[in-house]
């Protein structure tokens, strides 16, 4: 799904009355799977479109997005995880990245 499609999907969901948050990769270090500018749209009801990683951190981002949707306050999240914690929320590839979360409203 292209970045343009993610925005279109987010707009459609918002028009349907969903609470929507947008996550954007703003900085990467090392071997992060998705470049800066990659987007993930999530809804309070649990729908997801696009990606900010290879699937490693989408769950954690979606969870954090619930707070942004509730309060309207944007968040800047850092992910970058050593190998022994790779099974937790993090990147098995050893990369690091920063994600900006904002409410669509």
């Amino acid at each position: 799904m292209s970045d343009e499609d993610v925005l279109a999907t987010a707009a459609t969901w918002a028009a349907e009355g969903e609470e929507v948050a947008l996550a954007t990769v703003v900085e990467t270090w090392g071997s992060s799977p998705r470049p800066a500018g990659s987007r993930l749209a999530v809804t309070a009801s649990g729908r997801m479109a696009g990606s900010v990683s290879g699937g490693c951190i989408e769950g954690a981002v979606a969870e954090a997005a619930q707070r942004t949707m509730e309060t309207g306050a944007p968040q800047l999240l850092d992910f970058g995880i050593s190998d022994e914690r790779a099974w937790e929320v993090g990147l098995a590839c050893g990369g690091k990245l920063q994600v900006f979360l904002e409410r669509l409203a």
């Binding site: 947008l22 954007t24 470049p35 900006f100 409203a105």
Partner: protein, 237 residues
């Protein structure tokens, strides 16, 4: 992001107008460049981001801003509404290319064969001139007919497009090279044409040929080593 800003961003995308979304990461304040007025430093960063097609975070007066370019999609011009084109077009769309199919032969270029695709029925030289090829354009000729392929290649060779591929065997290409030389194109220019077209994956079916062509287009766009051809095509002749 406000619904208003999202609407403006999507309008720019629909109009194929390059814009950059600027976000102050401390509080989420946003501006759309060049529509909104922004400090000169941010304006320069936005211009550079669009030119390099690369998003990045920049520091300005102690604030961190995310500069996110939104360029119109790269274009793929397919000359020849043939069977391979039918396989190529949907794959190219999946890869994010805006595709135009050029073929004056109405029997081939039908909406039934190419649903939802931008079709041009003009003669290739006119069609190509109207498309104003730029550095984000790729051209693939598939007709096998010099009357259609040659004028398209003539225009492509005079443009800064990043990829030119022509379907046909080495022998077909050798003859094509001779014709293009007669049209005034030099050896170096003609060597831009990738023929036989596509990465050599021993493709047989229309879909496989489409895959090999698009793999080469992507490799050329991203500057992959795989996109380098060792000998110029003329040397093979």
């Amino acid at each position: 992001m406000t619904p208003d800003l999202l609407a403006r961003l999507r309008e720019a995308q629909a109009a194929k107008r390059p814009v950059a979304l600027l976000t102050r990461l401390s509080d989420g304040r946003q501006r759309l460049w060049p529509d909104d007025s922004v400090p000169a430093a941010l304006s320069e960063a936005a211009e550079a981001a669009l030119r390099d097609d690369k998003a990045s975070a920049v520091a300005l007066d102690g604030d961190k801003w995310f500069v996110h370019p939104h360029n119109p999609p790269a274009r793929l011009i397919v000359v020849g509404a043939v069977h391979v084109a039918q396989a190529l077009v949907p794959m190219a769309a999946t890869l994010g290319f805006a595709v135009t199919v050029v073929d004056p032969r109405r029997a081939f270029a039908t909406p039934e064969r190419f649903p939802g695709v931008s079709l041009s029925f003009d003669w290739p030289d006119e069609a190509m001139a109207a498309l104003a090829l730029d550095g984000r354009s790729a051209v693939v000729t598939l007709t096998h007919d010099p009357k259609l392929d040659d004028p398209a290649l003539d225009v492509a060779l005079r443009s800064p497009c990043f990829y030119i591929g022509a379907l046909g065997s080495r022998r077909t290409h050798a003859k094509r090279v001779a014709r293009l030389q007669e049209m005034g194109h030099g050896e170096g220019a003609i060597a831009r044409i990738r023929a036989p077209v596509g990465l050599d994956i021993a493709a047989v079916t229309a879909s496989e040929i489409a895959l090999s062509v698009l793999a080469e287009v992507v490799a050329a766009r991203r500057g992959a080593a795989l996109a380098q051809r060792n000998a110029p095509a003329v040397a093979a002749a």
